[in-house]
Amino acid sequence: MAEHSDRETSGALTRGERAGMLWRSLFLQSVWNQRGMQNVGFCFAMLPLLHRCGEDKDERSAFLQRHLGFFNTNPTLASYVLGAAAAQEAAGADAASVISVKKGLASPLGMAGDALLWGALRPFAGAVAVLLALGGIVWAPLVLLVIYNVPHLVLKTRGIGVGAAAGPTGAAELLGPGLRAAVRWTRALAAFAVGLILARVVAAGGAVEPWRVLAVVLFFALAYAAARARVPGTLVAFGGAVGGVVLLLAGLNGG
C-alpha cells in the first residue's frame, strides 16, 4: 500500500467538504448490515475528501478501504466522528491514526447518543405529541417532529464542525455530567407526559367513572404482568386490543 505522500494535506476542511459530509451523513445507515454495520454509509459520507487522493489508484483504494471498515455509533453523533476523521485525513495522518480516532469515538458517542436521542428525546417527543393528539390537535405530529429534530439537527450539524476543529476531544462536550442530567430530566418529563395520558384515558368524558377505572386497572395489571414476564410489548398491546374488541362486540359500550 502506497504511503500517503501524494495526498493533498492542506489542513483545514473546506466549507464544501463539510457541507458535502453533512448531507451524506443523512444516509449513514442506508446500507446497514450485520457485518460492517454503518461502514458503507460512513465511507459514503467521507467521499467529499476523496479528491484529496488525486488520481492515484492506491491512495484512493487505501482511503476507501479504511473507511469501509466496521463502524457503528449513534447516527446523529456520528457527525463528530466524521469531523474528527476528516480532520485527520486533511492533515495527512496515517491510516492507523485515522482508524484509531474512529474506533475511540464510536463507542462512547454511541452510548451517549442512544441514551439521549433514542432513550429520552424520542419518548418525550412522542408522549407530548400523543397527549396533544388526544386533545384533538391535528398538528400534534408536527410537535413531535420539532421537539425531536431541533436538537437532532443542531447536534448533527455542529458535530462535523466541532469534530473537525477539535478532533477527538471535541466530543467531550457531550460525554460529561450535563448529558446524564439531560437524559434523566428528559425521561422524567416524558414520564410526566405519559402520566397525563393515563389520566386522560381513565377520566375520558370529564369524570372518573368506576367501571373505567376498573377496566384500566384490569388491563393494566394484565399488561404489566405480561411485560414483567418479558412478553413483547407488541403482543401485549395486541392482546389488549383483542380484549377491547371482545368487550365491544359483547355490547359493553362506553363513551
Partner: protein, 225 residues
C-alpha cells in the same frame, strides 16, 4: 378515492416513510404517529390517522433501535393501520371497531416489517461487498451504488409489504355486518398506555414519581375543566 388507489398511495407512502426509519434522514417521519397522521390526511380520515397513530406510538414508545436490535417498522404500521381503519370506517363499521382493527393491523404490520428489515439487512451485506470490491480498485462508484441499492431496497420492500397487508385487509370488510353501537376506547387505550408507562416511568424511581405526578395532575385537570 377507490380502494385500489388508496392501496397504491399508502404503499408508496409507507415505503417512502420507512426509508426514514434507518436508511436515510431519520427525522422521525417514520414514527407511527407521524406516518399514521399523514396516511389519515391522504385518505380523508385525519382524526382516524391521529388515533391509530397515537396508539401505535405509545406501544412502541420505549423501543430502542440501537445496534443490531430489531425494531418494529412504524411507517408500515401507521400506513397499514390507518388504511385498514379507513376501509372499515367507510364500510359502515363502528368507529371503535375500525380503530381497534386498525391498531391490530398496525401492530401486525410493524412486527412483519421488523422481520423484513432483518432480511433487508442481510441483503445489505451483499451491497457492502460490492462497495468493498470496487474500493480495492480505488473506485468509489461501488460505494455510491451500494447506497442507492440500499435505499431502493428499503423503499420497495416496505411498499410491497404495505400493499400486501392492505390488500389482505380488504377481507375484513365482513366486519361491517356487525351493527355495534358505541366505542370502548378505554380498553383499547389501556394496553398501549400500560406499555408506555412501563417503558417510560416504570424503570426508575424519579421517573415513577414524575409519572405519578403527571397522572395526578391530569386527573385534576380533567375533572376541573
Amino acid at each position: 378515492m377507490s380502494e385500489i388507489q388508496m392501496i397504491v398511495i399508502l404503499s408508496l407512502l409507507g415505503g417512502a416513510l420507512s426509508v426514514d426509519a434507518t436508511a436515510a434522514l431519520q427525522v422521525m417521519l417514520s414514527q407511527p404517529l407521524v406516518a399514521g397522521s399523514i396516511a389519515g390526511a391522504i385518505v380523508g380520515e385525519p382524526v382516524l390517522g391521529l388515533v391509530v397513530g397515537s396508539t401505535l406510538q405509545l406501544v412502541w414508545i420505549g423501543v430502542l433501535p440501537v445496534g443490531a436490535a430489531p425494531f418494529p417498522d412504524g411507517a408500515v404500521a401507521g400506513s397499514v393501520g390507518v388504511g385498514v381503519a379507513a376501509v372499515l370506517a367507510g364500510s359502515g363499521v363502528s368507529e371503535g371497531l375500525a380503530v381497534a382493527a386498525g391498531m391490530m393491523s398496525g401492530l401486525i404490520g410493524g412486527a412483519v416489517g421488523q422481520r423484513v428489515t432483518s432480511r433487508v439487512r442481510r441483503l445489505n451485506v451483499r451491497y457492502s461487498a460490492i462497495a468493498e470490491s470496487r474500493a480495492e480498485q480505488g473506485d468509489a462508484r461501488g460505494v455510491r451504488a451500494a447506497v442507492a441499492l440500499g435505499l431502493v431496497t428499503r423503499f420497495v420492500t416496505a411498499s410491497l409489504l404495505v400493499a400486501a397487508l392492505l390488500s389482505a385487509s380488504l377481507l375484513l370488510r365482513f366486519l361491517g355486518s356487525f351493527t355495534v353501537e358505541g366505542i370502548f376506547p378505554t380498553a383499547l387505550w389501556a394496553a398501549p398506555v400500560a406499555a408506555a408507562t412501563i417503558a417510560v416511568g416504570g424503570r426508575d424511581r424519579r421517573e415513577s414519581w414524575f409519572l405519578a405526578a403527571g397522572f395526578a395532575a391530569g386527573l385534576v385537570l380533567v375533572v376541573l375543566l
